[in-house]
């Protein structure tokens, strides 16, 4: 199923680890140079920036190529003709991606990724045009129309497995979101169907993962498991998965109780409190970075969405309390770990062990310092203030905002 051999991907993983260890000073330069020769892979890789740019230009080229084809060869085509050609483009793009990997040995190089992504896009557009004459998505129950997102989800899953592209799995999860809308008009049932799909995926991943605990696939499965946990949480948190999220949040949040059956509504409220500890416990037990991160995110989301769930009025100082809580938790964990023997407790440490962490901190602090002033100054509630400051559109922590 996988397009790359296990040995090639293991070699690439070993090379990355060697670079990290050499950066950290865990290997001498001579050792690094010697071991580097033993981790030569035939796969062609590139850095993240060139990968992104190559992805972008491949998308531009393919999109323009398809449009040019229709412009030159089909002046006023029927909807079904367009659909058939979209399907042909999908096949061509997918074949191009396969060829790029098989012959040019591209590995996460941007080009083959964009071709694979285009194949999914063309497939869905082609099926919609060829089978349903391009009628747009409508959230009314019609099982046949669900073929399009179902095909999109399946092909995205195949691309994830074959090319190892994590975002193809995310695309499959997004396609699944559209499925229940074609099967039932009940909003409660739609939430349940999505959660059941994600839960089935989670069970499958959890069953497969132990076999790959120490190999190159562990990172892939870790990310996928984290995405599925997050998907399940978002599917059951009715406050977050609501479409008019921003409009209703500051008005007391009582609307949901009437839209959904009361038992269902309160069951989801109980679940959003149960899920974060489960995810965090799973992440900590497995020492899984992505799952721990998702556990922390869903815990914060639970705190944030609890008041709207209960229909309580939100207060301006709620973010302050959340901030104090987050800071206290971080400080407590750091100190607790630091007081263990050699700064380690139960196999965890707060110390930095990888050069990558420092790199991420440096890049993140510079970028977040530029954007955070814009995000800390929300617009005040118009009814409760006779003056306003905020906006922060000019930087300086809001000092340059709209007074």
């Amino acid at each position: 199923m996988r397009l790359y051999s296990a040995s090639s991907e293991e070699t690439l993983r070993a090379r990355k680890l060697l670079v990290n260890w050499a950066d950290e000073g865990l290997l001498a330069t001579e050792q690094y140079q010697r071991l580097k020769k033993e981790t030569v892979s035939e796969l062609r890789t590139t850095n993240i920036f060139l990968r992104l740019v190559l992805f972008l230009f491949t998308l531009v080229g393919v999109g323009a190529g398809a449009a040019l084809f229709f412009k030159v060869f089909l002046s006023q085509p029927l909807e079904q003709t367009i659909g058939i050609f979209f399907l042909i483009f999908a096949a061509v793009c997918y074949a191009g991606a396969e060829v790029a990997v098989s012959y040019a040995r591209l590995y996460h190089y941007g080009i083959e990724e964009a071709l694979a992504v285009c194949s999914v896009g063309f497939l869905c557009a082609g099926m919609q045009s060829a089978l349903f004459r391009g009628s747009p998505y409508s959230p009314t129950p019609d099982g046949v129309h669900s073929l399009v997102p179902a095909a999109g989800a399946l092909v995205s899953l195949c691309i994830w497995r074959r090319f190892g592209l994590w975002y193809a799995f995310l695309a499959a999860m997004i396609f699944v979101l559209f499925l229940p809308g074609y099967w039932t008009s009940s909003h409660s049932a739609q939430h349940i169907v999505v959660a059941v799909f994600y839960a089935a995926g989670l069970i499958s991943v959890a069953a497969v993962r132990p076999r790959h605990r120490s190999d190159y696939l562990d990172d892939d499965f870790s990310l996928v498991e984290a995405l599925l946990w997050l998907g399940i949480y978002l599917a059951i948190n009715l406050q977050l998965s609501s479409l008019n999220l921003s409009a209703q949040w500051w008005d007391g949040g009582t609307w949901n109780a009437s839209e959904f059956p009361r038992p269902f509504y309160w069951t989801t409220w109980a679940l959003i409190w149960c899920l974060p500890p489960v995810v965090l416990a799973r992440g900590v037990c497995q020492k899984d970075r992505f799952v721990i991160a998702v556990g922390a995110i869903v815990a914060i989301l639970t705190f944030v969405s609890n008041k709207p769930y209960l229909g309580w009025q939100r207060h301006t100082w709620d973010p302050m309390l959340l901030g104090v809580l987050l800071t206290s938790v971080a400080l407590f964990i750091r100190r607790w770990l630091a007081r263990g023997p050699n700064g380690i407790r139960h196999g965890f440490t707060a110390a930095r062990l990888s050069g990558k962490d420092k790199h991420w901190m440096n890049a993140g602090s510079a970028a977040l310092g530029l954007v955070s002033p814009q995000s800390i100054t929300p617009s005040p509630q118009p009814s409760s203030s006779d003056f306003r400051f905020g906006g922060g559109t000019s930087g300086g922590g809001g000092a340059g905002g709209d007074f």
Partner: protein, 314 residues
């Protein structure tokens, strides 16, 4: 062969010592498992949420709380943050200095953001510099710059650069009409100031590790300014020339320093600028689409060549 098997093989070969093998194998197994990044992100999110709530509360309840209470609370927090930083900061050094404690950077960041909230409150309530309050931004930029260099903090340096950009933006907003050309000139002046400042500080050995932050900010602002000139209906020739020169410089810098973000910047900004000139006024859709196909393929070929020669992950 998994990494653990490979390490075992290297140990038998004598390529690594048994101690190295034990250490690297435990790292590969995630033993111990570092929560360094996660705890830092949690601290950052906590500070940001706290200051957001503080600003919002002050804005909403200032009348009920009263100016004295609000200013006392904000000033106390400010004083506490800066007292903590000043009392724990190591002796200043022009080189990169590690933070004396894991929370030091976040206390400084909290103090800087509280400073912004207090300044905004003061001006809004008392109108000390009414009509001239862009000077607050200039003073804030200078203050943050001092803090960034004194305490070796990238967060605060970014705040300083965004405050300075805000000052340039606000100064021009006082003009009766907002003209692109005037904005562009100010953007270029900003690039010149920040760029030259960054170069001088780096050459003098003052926190040379900050140079990357300066360079990324300046490059992006400069490209945006030049692109806005290229989009002009008339008189865009010089701007196009300047764009091409900056693209060349950015590529050269990126390739020689192996900082491929700059190659990506020049590829994207350069492509947008040149394309806007070449397809300007062309009404034939076939020609436009043909251009995008050919130019995208050409860009791919060039970038793949660059990638093959320079762009492998280090």
């Amino acid at each position: 062969m998994t990494i653990l098997a490979r390490l075992e093989h290297w140990k038998k070969q004598g390529a690594i010592s048994p101690e190295q093998h034990a250490h690297l194998a435990s790292l590969s197994r995630g033993e111990p498992f570092s929560l360094f990044l996660e705890l830092n992100v949690l601290l950052y999110a906590g500070i940001l949420a706290f200051v957001a709530g503080l600003g919002w509360t002050v804005a909403t309840w200032s009348k009920q709380l009263g100016d004295v209470l609000v200013l006392t609370i904000l000033s106390t927090m400010l004083a506490a943050c800066f007292w903590y930083c000043l009392s724990r900061a190591p002796v200043w050094s022009p080189a990169e200095t590690p933070a004396p404690s894991p929370v030091f950077d976040y206390v400084l960041y909290l103090g800087s953001l509280v400073w912004c909230v207090e300044l905004a409150y003061l001006e809004n309530r008392f109108h000390v510099l009414s009509g001239q309050w862009d000077l607050y931004l200039l003073a804030t930029a200078g203050f943050f710059c001092f803090l960034a260099y004194r305490f070796d903090n990238r967060f605060v340096l970014s705040l300083a650069l965004s405050s300075l950009a805000g000052w340039f933006g606000l100064t021009i907003s006082h003009w009766p009409s907002h003209q692109d050309a005037a904005y562009r000139q100010y953007a270029l002046l900003y690039c010149l100031m920040v760029g030259v400042g960054g170069v001088i500080l780096q050459h003098r050995g003052l926190k040379p590790h900050f140079f990357g932050t300066y360079l990324n900010v300046v490059t992006n602002v400069l490209f945006w300014a030049l692109l806005s000139g290229v989009f002009n209906r008339q008189g865009y020739g010089l701007w196009l020339l300047a764009l091409l020169i900056v693209c060349g410089a950015s590529i050269a810098w990126g390739l020689t320093r192996r900082q491929f973000a700059f190659v990506a910047y020049s590829a994207v900004y350069g492509y947008v600028g040149v394309s806007s000139i070449l397809i300007r006024g062309v009404t034939d859709e076939t020609l436009v689409l043909g251009y995008f196909v050919i130019s995208a393929v050409a860009m791919l070929v060039v970038l793949v060549q660059i990638g093959r020669r320079f762009g492998r992950p280090a």
